[in-house]
């Protein structure tokens, strides 16, 4: 879940970057384009309209000199024709209006481009007016010019009532403007694409260190404390990577220190056990002598001698357990596998400790359950579980052994040991396999070393099996050990050299 959220967050950064880049580019391109377009359009149109108006005025002035007021309809028509003809390109359409009369250079020209407003405005003004109109989708420039006639009697020109209108198609101008819009459009799309690409690149630049950081964090969480990042550049992300590396280094150092301390503690325990072993060997050798002679001593000395003998045996067992534990810790414990009959092995374990009468067994018939296990370690497992049940639970103790085929894992054996005691308190259950864990907090010494269940756990683990404790619904504590019966693939027995013949076909 965290992974999905993290990924979507990273994707979010990428999307946001791309959107921002695209938006900025679009705004920049479009506003630049719009401004350019407006300026260019104004420039193009102004130029052409100025030229047209100047030309128109010149031509009208030239033509008007040939006419005298008042004008007859024929003269008006001739005037309009003359003005139109004076333009060499012959693209002008001219309308002349005089006191309610009007004449067009093209016969029956409706002159739709000319609005009434324009007519009125020209009639009341003394200078040229223009208007850009679009009729039937065709852009055109309409220019209106009131014609003043020079009167010899007056210095000022007066309204003659004659107006001339000109319509010029502006297709060429429109075309240049369209080309301009097209150019802006054509520039915008590549710019946007470029912006998105740049955004992706930038996102990658940002996200790559972020992703590296994420992977490194995960790697640390998985226990690879030597994970470090390559610091590139000197930006904030590089700073972050640097900080990460320092943190990881500090963490690694602390963990290493903890491990060193633990190793030292364990080695100390191993060394102490080892050193205790030699004096214990001497003491153990003579406990039998003490036991034999105690009967002939005075009562106090006899008690003292028996105490020494008993405690020596316990001490020897404790040191033996400690040594065993140290070997597990050091990873020096190995399996010595043999093909055994499990029921026979369990029965033998109970028999050697004189438990056959106290433990109710439910074992498979001889030969029914065979497996490749370490017989000594199996003995330790069974003996510790039964001893624990007898010591901390209450009789009767039940032991059940059976085999089953675990899908995909071959045959497994199950050993269940159930006592009839009060069971294990729920808060103690998780701690029951801990070393030196005692159920009563007073830490009174019991017969066992306090390592029995811990050693059982290690022995089961060495066999790649499982052990767990629970409270039986019917009362009492139930310990269940499950062991795989074919250890061959896991730990080949060196004594079984493949060169040896005599295998069953």
């Amino acid at each position: 879940m965290a992974r999905v959220r993290g990924l979507s967050r990273l994707r979010g950064v990428r999307v946001r970057l791309v959107l921002a880049f695209a938006l900025v580019t679009a705004v920049a391109t479009l506003s630049t384009g719009a401004l350019t377009f407006r300026e260019a359009r104004t420039g193009v149109l102004q130029q052409s309209q100025d030229a047209v108006i100047r030309q128109f005025r010149d031509h009208v002035n030239n033509v008007v000199a040939d006419y005298r007021l008042p004008l007859s309809p024929a003269q008006l028509q001739s005037f309009a024709d003359d003005v139109a003809k004076s333009e060499p390109a012959q693209s002008w359409r001219v309308l002349a209006a005089y006191r309610g009369l009007s004449a067009t250079s093209t016969p029956k020209d409706p002159f739709a481009e000319l609005t009434q407003d324009m007519r009125t405005a020209v009639a009341t003004h003394s200078s040229a007016l223009f208007q850009r109109v679009t009729v039937h989708g065709r852009p055109a420039l309409v220019v209106g010019l009131p014609v003043p006639f020079e009167d010899s009697r007056r210095t000022a020109t007066e309204r003659s009532g004659l107006s001339v209108f000109l319509t010029v198609p502006q297709i060429a101008e429109q075309r240049s403007i369209d080309a301009l819009v097209g150019a802006v459009e054509r520039a915008t799309v590549p710019a946007l694409v470029l912006a998105v690409l740049l955004a992706l690149l930038a996102a990658r630049g940002v996200l790559r260190p972020v992703r590296a950081l994420r992977d490194a964090t995960r790697s640390i969480a998985e226990g690879h404390l030597d994970t470090r990042l390559t610091v590139e550049g000197s930006d904030e992300l590089a700073d972050l990577s640097h900080t990460f590396n320092e943190t990881a280094a500090a963490l690694e150092e602390s963990v290493a220190e903890l491990r060193r301390m633990e190793t030292r503690a364990r080695r100390f325990a191993a060394d102490v056990s080892h050193e205790l072993r030699t004096p214990l060997a001497a003491m153990s050798a003579v406990t039998d002598v003490l036991d034999e002679d105690a009967a002939h001593l005075d009562p106090d000395t006899a008690t003292a001698v028996r105490l020494i003998s008993e405690e020596t045996v316990k001490l020897a067992r404790l040191v033996d357990d400690l040594m065993e534990m140290s070997r597990f810790d050091a990873g020096a414990a190995t399996l010595h596998l043999d093909d055994i009959d499990l029921a026979e092995s369990v029965r033998s374990t109970l028999a050697t400790r004189a438990w056959l009468g106290t433990v109710h067994t439910q074992l498979p018939p001889p030969g029914a359950l065979r497996g490749r296990l370490d017989p000594r370690r199996l003995d330790v497992i069974v003996a510790n579980l039964v001893a624990n049940a007898l010591r901390h639970g209450a009789p009767p103790v039940h032991l059940r052994l059976f085999g089953y085929d675990r899908p995909g894992a071959g045959p497994w054996a199950v050993i269940e040991v159930l006592d009839s005691g009060p069971g294990i308190p729920d808060d103690v259950l998780p701690l029951i396999f801990d070393r030196f864990y005692k159920t009563d907090t007073a830490r009174t010494r019991t017969e066992g070393s306090g390592l029995g269940l811990a050693i059982t756990t290690e022995n089961v683990r060495l066999h790649h099996g499982t052990v767990h404790a629970a409270n039986h619904p019917g009362g009492g504590a139930l310990f269940t050990v499950e062991l795989p019966l074919s250890q061959n693939e896991l730990a080949p027995d060196p004594s079984e050299t493949p060169a040896e013949g005599g295998q069953l076909p």
Binding site: H274, R277, T278, P279, L280, A281, A282, M283, S284, A285, V286, T287, D288, V289, E292, V313, A316, V319, D320, M323, E324, R327, A332, A333, T334, H336, L337, D338, D339, I340, D341, E344, S345, S348, T349, T352, R370, R372, P375, R376, L378, D379, S495, E496, T497, A499, E500, G501, G502, Q503, L504, P505
Partner: protein, 253 residues
């Protein structure tokens, strides 16, 4: 009175073991170094040697090897710390007959010694013919001697007892645990490597080719059995190519 030669460097352990064994009725000679032990064995002999593997100077392993190299088949018990696994295996292969784990109680060591001494003296099956011939192997159950191709083979007590047990019921498969109980009088959960090491030594002494054992066969999943397999005469330097014999046993599970 059986004479036990105790080779142990720690004075307290030496004195303790010596005291305990002496009380059990053994004549105990205790020495502190391997060199002294070898010297004592050469000059006076012993019925059984209890050998600490961790010795200053000449190691217990070396002492063991030298005793066997001198063709002395005296029973040897090595005393070792549990978990010194390499020591046990190497010690067994060097010719030790049995081992005890330190710290050891006197009665445990005593039981081992007695079992070993019984091994030297007794024949497991009195009712069988005195001399059995298995191919080129001749086993004299009364005289407790073995010869291969007419040449006597010197066997240590455990090796002899193992061979006698296996050959006493030809064709029968013995599990390692059964052999541990029958030959070493160990309880059920002893180290099966004791058997493997002894079988290895026995095969070597009988001149078996390791790839194609002729007399003692490994039955995978069960243990060992003795059966004389017909063998083509192999020329010098020519490896034995005969296949292992057929078995009249049910297949493993």
């Amino acid at each position: 009175m059986p004479c036990v030669l105790l080779i142990e460097d720690d004075r307290a352990v030496r004195e303790g073991v010596q005291l305990a064994l002496r009380r059990q009725g053994h004549d105990v000679v205790a020495v502190g170094t391997g060199e002294d032990g070898l010297g004592r064995l050469l000059s006076h002999g012993a019925d059984v040697v209890v050998l600490d593997l961790m010795l200053p100077g000449m190691s217990g392993l070396e002492v063991c090897r030298r005793i066997r190299a001198g063709d002395n088949q005296v029973p040897i018990i090595m005393a070792t710390a549990r978990g010194d696994d390499v020591d046990i295996v190497v010690g067994l292969e060097a010719g030790a007959d049995d081992y005890v784990v330190k710290p050891v109680q006197a009665r445990v060591l005593e039981a081992r010694i007695r079992a070993l001494l019984r091994r030297v003296g007794a024949s497991p099956d009195g009712g069988l013919p005195k001399i059995e011939i298995h191919g080129e192997l001749a086993i004299d159950r009364a005289a407790l001697t073995v010869s291969s191709k007419g040449v006597p083979v010197a066997l240590a007590p455990s090796e002899l007892r193992l061979l006698l047990t296996l050959s006493g019921s030809p064709g029968q498969v013995f599990s390692r645990q059964q052999l541990l109980e029958a030959v070493w009088e160990h309880n059920f959960h002893a180290d099966a490597r004791l058997v493997d090491a002894c079988v290895k030594r026995l095969r070597t002494k009988m001149g078996e080719s390791p790839g194609q054992p002729r007399y003692i066969h490994t039955v995978r999943g069960f243990g060992y059995r003795f059966k004389e397999t017909a063998q083509e005469p192999a020329g010098p330097g020519r490896p034995d190519v005969s296949l292992p014999g057929r078995y009249d046993l049910p297949g493993p599970r």
